[in-house]
Structure formats: structure tokens, C-alpha cells
């Protein structure tokens, strides 16, 4: 290691002890330090803020963050128990340049998936033109024929998307998976930001961080834009499975910050192809449902007949064009992990552009040659089920035992369509407070995109999830992961005019009159009060005088 490098690390005053060794050992791209342990320019203010902080102080802030989350009820449920959502005190910083790539790439991907869904539930042109095999679409467990031919009012099926990105060992962003069914986590982006503003104010003031607070407004605008034709002032609701759902906090936060009703399945009823909600003033029509209930539970008429979470008749109401569901039913066919391997081709096919963000190299295990190669190298690869979410069912070759690998081989052979394989991606690392020191931990990033039918808007920020155990590469909140606030720095381009404009309207306020004073206020004492006080003094003097004469 070079002398200059050790200087950069020592500046942490012990906080970063052992960081360099751990970062080197992981072999991953570190987002704060370069390979020779210099501090990257974008992370310099955060590093400086940390370096000026004592460990005890930092620990205190971390504890304060956790307890404020507990008080505010910012929790997620693990096995029915509410836990504060884990937020690390060290933010993750993304430069304006890096972000412009992410932004363009995510928007492009969402546009391509949108076009694909319209095609898959419509003419299937891509199949005819040989871009995607028909079997990949129809064999997906989330392909629902019942919605074929339902044309959403403004053509949008993916109102909200969350695209999971990782940075590889060269620091380049790659897409790990798409989520266009009911992507969750955006509420934590919003709450993490406001919590961090309290915990690390000085790092905020040293740089311009793009705000994330516009998300609910953008989402509501997109939902309103998706209303059925002819409805001027649509009623939009958020449909939640209920308080026991692990993401209930998010559903409530979104409904609250959009100022719309949060409904459960039992609040809804379908009559005559229309969707209505039960209110104290009787039944009232609903036009747009931002639903956070999975397809399978949405409508017992078409899907699981034992579902109590949805509303019978919902699909028919959507087909009749009286209600819009966001996100659309059957979107799961687009985030199937086997289809994922075709997405770069889909981008070229539908948009005529080259993909901005590359995929992670992936083997399709239904192809015999690929399967053979993967079976030979199973111990060095990651194997994933195509329809799993939340890190379920993933087998990481290097960490698996021989028995597990044998079992995996059997399961893959039995259902090759159900699995894909990828090389182990060394996810980038970010300094994270672990116990009593700061250590490198692997992270991913989920940016959120909102499609209002005219453009795809990408929230500047996103949910950074941290794998807390050392060396762990599976990053998921339901598996004991943490989170970080993600700071996207603003550049000085004029297309981000908000701060400039707010500065220009800042007019010094005219002096106002002081607040009205009442009796007993802290100001000048009333004459009567003064006299009372004088009288007391006089009495005391007299008493003392009287005492003296005695």
C-alpha cells in the first residue's frame, strides 16, 4: 500500500481501522475509496463529516435513528413482529454523471418492458419476428390470459417500476432484475432522507443533494392520468392487503402523502361492472386502484377463489373500462427472470436503441448446452428461480455444500424452465457502521420509475440495500438486510432549475408587528404588578424594621 493511501484512511481517526484490508479482501468496487485507498471525489464531504465524528457520537446517532423509526412506526414485520427498518448512518453518494446513466438506462428499460407487455397481451409481434420464443411468455407463471385484450386507458401497464441494479468490480451499473408487479421500498427512500437530514446535517449543507420528496406527487399525477376515459376528477385509492402485510407502512405512507384513501379488499364492492367503496355516506365510485395486492389475490372470480384480500368482479370492471388497475395484472411476465435474458434484445427491437444498462451475463438453463456448462461449474455460480422475489430460493455456489448442490442439480433437471444461472457478481461495497467500526458491506440499488404515459420519470435516489453479514452477497430486507440513504448529487445543468428558482424568489420579509401581549406575559410588567411588588417590598422592609425595634 502506498503512503498516500494510508493517509486517506487514517483521517477517520480510528473509525476506518481495518477498512482497507477488508475492502481489498472483498475484491469489489468500493464506492468511497479508490483501489489505492484515496477518497473518491463524490464521497469526500461524507468522508470529511465522518472523519470529524467520534465513534461514540456516531453510535449515538445510529441509535437515535433506530429509536426514532420505532417511535414513528417505520417498521417492517418479520414473522408478525414489528421491527424498526434498519437504516445505516453512512449515506451512499452517487455522482450526477453516474446518475445520468442510471436514469437513462432505467427509463429505457421501463419503456421497453411497457412495449413488451402491450405486445404480449396483444398481437405478439415480437414472437412472430423471432425475438422471444412464444413458450417463454406463455410458460411464465405470471402470464395471465384473462387480461389479454384489456387496453389500459393511457396505454400504461407499468405505472411504477423498481429496477434492481448492482455495480460490478469495474464500478459499472448492471441490471440484476426488473420489478414491474408491485415493487416496494419507496417509502423507505422518503423516510430515510428525512431521518438522515436530522442525523448528518453538515454533510447535507456541503453539497447539493437532489430531493426525493416529489415522488408522491408524481405518482398521484401518473395515477390520475391513467383514469378511465371521460372521468374528469378520478377517485384514486391505494389497495392494501391489510395491517399485517409487511409493507403496510409503505401503503399507509403513500396513501397519506398522496392524500387519498387506503382501502382493504373488504371496503370495495363491484356492482354492474363498476368498482365502489363503502363509505359512511354509502357506496362511492372508485376509478383508479393503485393496488399493492398480488395478482393471485386480486379477484377471486378469476384467480384464487379463497382470496379475501381482493374484490370479486375487479377484473371485469377493468375490462369494462370503468376502473384502471395500477400496476396492470399479468405484468409478472415481464419481470420473469428468464425473460430478463431477452430484455436487451427487446430494447433493440421495440425502441431501436442499444441498451444503456447491461444485464448480468445469464445462462438459460432450459437450453441443454447451457445447462451442461452450468452443471459443470455449479460451485462457482449463482442459481436463481425465475419467479422468486425477496432472495428466496437463491443458491450461491461458492457458499453451498456438496449436498445442496446435488439437490439443486436435481431440481433444475426436473424444471429447467424454472431456473437461471449467473456468475457471482462482486457487488460494490460502501462503508457501513457495523458494531463498533466502519466496514465495507455489499450493496445494491433499486431506483424507482413512474410512468405517466407521456414520459418515464426516475426518482433521483433509490433504495440502497445493504447485506449486513460480512461478505454476504444476497441483499434483502426480509433476510436481515439494512438500508442506506442514497444521495444523488445535483450537477449544474440548467435542467434542474428548482434550487435556482427558489433562490430568485427569496425576498426579505417585511418587518411585522410583534405579537400581541397579554397580561402575565414575559414583557414589561403591568403597573399594577409593579405596585404589588413594591408593596411587598415595603411590607418586608416594615417587618424587618419592626423586628429591629423589638
Amino acid at each position: 500500500m502506498t503512503p498516500g493511501a494510508s493517509h486517506g484512511v487514517d483521517a477517520g481517526g480510528g473509525l476506518f481501522d481495518g477498512y482497507a484490508e477488508a475492502a481489498l479482501a472483498s475484491g469489489a468496487w468500493d464506492e468511497m475509496f479508490t483501489a489505492d485507498m484515496g477518497v473518491r471525489e463524490t464521497s469526500a464531504p461524507v468522508h470529511a463529516a465522518l472523519a470529524g465524528t467520534e465513534l461514540r457520537d456516531l453510535r449515538g446517532r445510529a441509535d437515535a435513528l433506530a429509536s426514532s423509526y420505532q417511535d414513528k412506526g417505520i417498521t417492517f414485520a418479520v414473522g408478525g413482529e414489528e421491527r424498526p427498518f434498519p437504516l445505516d448512518v453512512v449515506p451512499r453518494v452517487v455522482s450526477a454523471q453516474e446518475w445520468s446513466v442510471v436514469e437513462a438506462g432505467v427509463a429505457q428499460r421501463v419503456a421497453a418492458l411497457e412495449a413488451f407487455l402491450a405486445d404480449a397481451y396483444g398481437p405478439m409481434r415480437a414472437v412472430e419476428d423471432g425475438v422471444v420464443p412464444r413458450s417463454v411468455i406463455t410458460s411464465s407463471s405470471h402470464f395471465h390470459r384473462v387480461v389479454a385484450g384489456i387496453e389500459p386507458p393511457n396505454g400504461v401497464r407499468v405505472h411504477v417500476a423498481g429496477v434492481d441494479l448492482v455495480r460490478d468490480a469495474e464500478g459499472a451499473f448492471r441490471v440484476l432484475e426488473d420489478n414491474v408487479r408491485v415493487p416496494s421500498g419507496v417509502s423507505y427512500v422518503l423516510t430515510n432522507r428525512s431521518a438522515m437530514a436530522g442525523a448528518m446535517p453538515q454533510a447535507f449543507s456541503d453539497q447539493r443533494i437532489r430531493p426525493v420528496a416529489a415522488y408522491p406527487r408524481r405518482l398521484l399525477a401518473a395515477l390520475r392520468a391513467a383514469a378511465p376515459v371521460g372521468v374528469d376528477d378520478p377517485t384514486v385509492v391505494v389497495l392494501t392487503p391489510g395491517v399485517y402485510n409487511s409493507a403496510y407502512f409503505e401503503h399507509a405512507l403513500l396513501a397519506r402523502s398522496m392524500g387519498i384513501e387506503l382501502v382493504e379488499g373488504r371496503d370495495l364492492v363491484c356492482r354492474g361492472g363498476r368498482l365502489l367503496m363503502r363509505t359512511t355516506a354509502g357506496l362511492r365510485p372508485v376509478h383508479v386502484v393503485y393496488r399493492r395486492v398480488d395478482d393471485e389475490y386480486l379477484d377471486p372470480v378469476h384467480f384464487r377463489s379463497d382470496s379475501m384480500l381482493g374484490c370479486p368482479g375487479l377484473v371485469n370492471a377493468a375490462r369494462a373500462g370503468n376502473v384502471t388497475l395500477a400496476n396492470g395484472i399479468g405484468n409478472g411476465v415481464a419481470d420473469d427472470k428468464l425473460l430478463y435474458t431477452y430484455v436487451p434484445d427487446l430494447v433493440r427491437y421495440y425502441l431501436g436503441e442499444d441498451p444503456v444498462l447491461p444485464n448480468v451475463p445469464t445462462w438459460r438453463l432450459e437450453e441443454p448446452e447451457a445447462r451442461e456448462e452450468v452443471f459443470d461449474r455449479l460451485a462457482e455460480l449463482v442459481v436463481k428461480p425465475v419467479d422468486g422475489s425477496g432472495g428466496k430460493g437463491i443458491v450461491i455456489g461458492p457458499a453451498a455444500t456438496a449436498v445442496e448442490l446435488d439437490q439443486l442439480r436435481e431440481r433444475v433437471s426436473a424444471d429447467p424452465r424454472g431456473w437461471i444461472a449467473q456468475p457471482v457478481v462482486r457487488l460494490s461495497t460502501v462503508p457501513t457502521l457495523v458494531g463498533e467500526k466502519i466496514a465495507p458491506r455489499h450493496v445494491d440499488l433499486r431506483p424507482f420509475a413512474v410512468n405517466d404515459g407521456s414520459r418515464v420519470w426516475v426518482l433521483p435516489g433509490g433504495l440502497t440495500r445493504v447485506a449486513l453479514p460480512e461478505g454476504e452477497l444476497v441483499v434483502n430486507s426480509s433476510q436481515g438486510g439494512g438500508s442506506k440513504d442514497t444521495w444523488v448529487l445535483a450537477d449544474d445543468r440548467p435542467d434542474d432549475p428548482a434550487p435556482v428558482r427558489s433562490r430568485s424568489v427569496a425576498v426579505p420579509p417585511a418587518p411585522s408587528a410583534p405579537p400581541d401581549a397579554g397580561p402575565g406575559g414575559g414583557g414589561a410588567a403591568d403597573v399594577r404588578d409593579q405596585q404589588q411588588q413594591q408593596q411587598q417590598v415595603q411590607q418586608r422592609v416594615q417587618q424587618r424594621a419592626g423586628g429591629a425595634t423589638c
Binding site: Q70, D71, K72, G73, V238, V243, Y248, F249, A252, L253, A255, R256, I260, E261, L262, V263, E264, R266, D267, M277, R278, T279, T280, A281, P300, V301, S305, D306, S307, M308, P312
Partner: protein, 318 residues
Amino acid sequence: MLSRIAEALFWIGRYVERAEDTARLLDVQLQLLVEDPWIDEGTACANLLSVMGAPLEDAQDGDGAPAPRADRRTVLDRLGYDPYSSASIVASIGGARENARRARETVSTEMWEVLNTAYNTVPTGRWRAVSPHTFFAWVRDRTSTVTGIADSTMSRDDGWLFLVLGRSIERADMTARLITSTASLGGPASRWPSLLRACGAHETFLRTYRGLEDETEAAEFLLLDRLFPRSVVHALAQAEKCLAELESSGQRAGVFDEAQRRLGRTRAELEYRPLADVLAHLPDEMERVQRTCSAASDAVARRYFSSGEALTWMGGRA
């Protein structure tokens, strides 16, 4: 407003008021147990538990175990700390918080945080270590904060009316229980000042009646005073007002809403009967108030919250 949300607000109102009133009642009753040499602890505690609707079970049949005797501890546990006893303060706070969680997008963030922090403090067990009086003071403090925040942050729409409706019905019910619990002790009239203090009414009472402390007047004050917000008549009238506003269709004849009719009839009974008559049958009258409150609550639920029954879909393809 969604029926489910209206119901949640109604119950937040009820639970918060219940927690507060239970704290007030326990505070003064436990104080009396210490101060008053003529009170038999066992009887008084058993009375208290039965007034609050949490009587001790009778001795197990056959196995000859002695009947559990009510004492300070049981009372504190069943009405104070035990989260599984439905009449306890802790359970009420939990109920209020759970309802606020269900109506999270409607309840203001500040109000939610107060309820949530109160709820989170309860299971720490720290309250069993401090004196009950401190606990009761804390409960009164928290519930007052909730009421105050609701008062200063909620818009006066239907949601507010349901919250106040719940609170008023609960208050009428609890004041009736308070009066019963004191009246059932019998004995010297010196207990009425404590009762007044439990309602925070002692000073107001003294000012109103110029220091003439008398059992009749104290009962009259808590039952019939039209200006004191914790009196039974005031609470009933407040509940009626909320229901009338919710109805908001000027009716020419009679009262259509069942809950309003029940509350109004009981209030009229109290107000228009000779006081001596009411006092002579105080426990019965108070029980009638409680029955009315419970029936009115059911009627409100039937009329406004009727989304309750779960639908089962019998799939045609099964």
C-alpha cells in the same frame, strides 16, 4: 369517508377516553383505600372490578381452592397493567394504537406518534417499578396530549365527528361507572370530594356551589351539570350533537337515528326526573346509562360501519 376508517376513529376516541378515565378512577379509588379506615379492602376491590366489568371468576368448582380474594394488586393488574385484561389501561392504549395503525393515512402523524410511543413504552415493564400514581399521571398526560393534538390538527369533518362521538359515549359510560363505584362504597359523604377530584371537577364544583360540599350536590354536578364537560348529561348531549351533524338532513319530525334516539331519551330521563328520584336509585340509573351507551355504540356501528362482514367467494370452478 371510508366506513372502516370512521370505525377506527370512533374507537380511537373510545379507547383513549377509556384509558384516561380508568386512570382517573383507579388513582382516586386506590388513594381512598389507603386513606379511609372504614373501607374493607376485599369488598371494595371486588366492587371496583365488577363496576369496571372485570369481575373475578368464581372459585373453581369442586377442587376446593379458595376463592381468589380481590386486593390492590389484582385491581392494579386487571385494570392497569395486564395487556390481556380487556378493561385495563394498557389494553386500551394498545387498542387505540392498533386502530390508529389501521387508519394511519387519516390520523395525523403527530397523533400517531404519541399513541405509538405510549404503546411502545408500556411493555418495557418500567411501570410496575414506579408508583401507580406516577403511572396514572403519565396516562393522563399522554391521553391529554392525544386529545389536544386531535383538537388542534384534525379538520372538523366526519372523521372528527366520529372521534368525538366515540369519546363522548365513552365518557358518559365511564362517568356513570365512576359514580357507581363511589356510591357502592356507601359510608361517609367525605368520599364525594375524591370522586370530584377524579373527574378533575373539584375546583369547578367548589366555585359553582360556593363550597357547600354535599353528596346530593356532588352527584347532581357530575350527573346533570350542563357546562361541565365530564358530566353525564354534557357527554350525552355532545354525542347527540355529533350524531345530528352526521345526519345533517333537517328532519321535521322526530329523530331517525337509533343511536341518537337512545342517547336523547336517557339524557331526558336524567334531566327531567326529580333529582331525589334519581339519587334514590343511583346504581340502577347509572347502569341504564351504561346500557344506553353500549346500545348506542352498536347502533352507530350498524348504521355507519356496516362493512364488517367478510364475504366468501364460492368459485364456480371449484
